[in-house]
Subunit: 186 residues, 2 copies
DNA sequence: TGCCGGTGTTAGCGGTCGCTAACACGGCAG
DNA sequence: CTGCCGTGTTAGCGACCGCTAACACCGGCA
């Protein structure tokens, strides 16, 4: 049953986001889905493998979704708006995954970390190329730094619970595009 | 000797930033400063106390520094630029502390966490009031959301190692102020 | 000189953690 | 009906971790 796996992954993401990978025990994860401790090993080969699957799957989703949205746009400016909208929507929909994604990357096994890093790099590359296409004359390094800064801005969502979802979506959208516009001018 | 304490705090910050609080052992921290394991207890009463001191001290530094810089400015717009510059400089100077600050807050003892949260709230309040003074008509909730988003933008520094320090400082400055300007217009 | 406080060492305790072993039980196929 | 596979249980092992105990060394001071 794949539903159980997904349920476990979701529960584990919440716990990892709150206490960190090493701060959560096998028994905690089991209890969160109503089973107890070692039953998890019927679905995942190890705790490390669970984290690995969580992070590779979210990295794939980001890369695929971002690539698709950017490719479907008709102008570079529109592509950039689409990327911002996509990242914002993703961060608002999966705040726990976003948190774990940037926090516990260092706790992955070497093979998993390498794969996640590669996927991340490719996702950033989509942003870099879109930024350079939208704003002529921006160096690759600058575009990359801008991309990381905008990720930070949008991924602040988990700490941002003062506005409701549509308002926050709109606000992050405006902030992100405003930041990028300001740099293009300079 | 207080120099040893500071040395330990700095080494522990680097380790916590890389592996998370629970991913670092007492022996690891000791080894990083050339002593071994339990000698730490000559300087700190517990591992929890070490983290507590680390996070309360950084929270105090942020609050005091930010308040001073904002108060010394002559106009709200200048105060906001000062806050952005201060946060940028802090994040670039102490990337490990920034990382631990937002990642391991949940691993503090209740009393420490309460104190850190209070200091953080007051620091955010400085930003909120400055934003509202600089841009008339922005609601408190919106200003707070903007502040958190700008923190995320600036604190992306640890993932941002493609530009040298002065360039990155300038870039983050422009991005942050551009983001805020865009929201004021809307 | 002799003591003493500050700082370091190693040995080891109690608890926790990831994981395995051994077993139980229900649903479905032959 | 029987046997098996998927999924759950509890008991417990071995390793690790935070921390304490007991002891050692050194520098300054009566």
């Amino acid at each position: 049953m794949t539903a159980r796996r997904d349920e476990i992954l979701a529960a584990a993401a919440e716990l990892f986001a709150r206490h960190g990978f090493h701060g959560v025990g096998i028994d905690d994860i089991g209890a969160a889905v109503g089973i107890s401790g070692p039953a998890l090993y019927r679905h995942f080969s190890s705790k490390d493998a669970l984290l690995g699957e969580m992070l590779t799957s979210i990295s794939k989703d980001l890369l695929e979704g971002g690539s698709a949205r950017a490719a479907a746009a008709e102008t570079p400016a529109e592509a950039l708006r689409e990327l911002v909208a996509f990242q914002t929507d993703f961060a608002l929909t999966h705040p726990a995954l976003i948190t774990v994604h940037e926090r516990d990357l260092g706790n992955l096994r070497d093979a998993d970390r390498h794969e996640v890093r590669t996927l991340q790099r490719r996702y950033v590359e989509v942003w870099v190329q879109t930024i350079q296409a939208a704003y002529a004359g921006v160096s690759e390094e600058r575009a990359r730094a801008c991309a990381h800064a905008v990720f930070g801005l949008i991924n602040s969502t988990p700490h941002n619970r003062y506005l409701d979802k549509p308002e926050l979506t709109r606000l992050l959208h405006d902030l992100a595009l405003g930041a990028l516009d300001a740099v293009a001018v300079a």
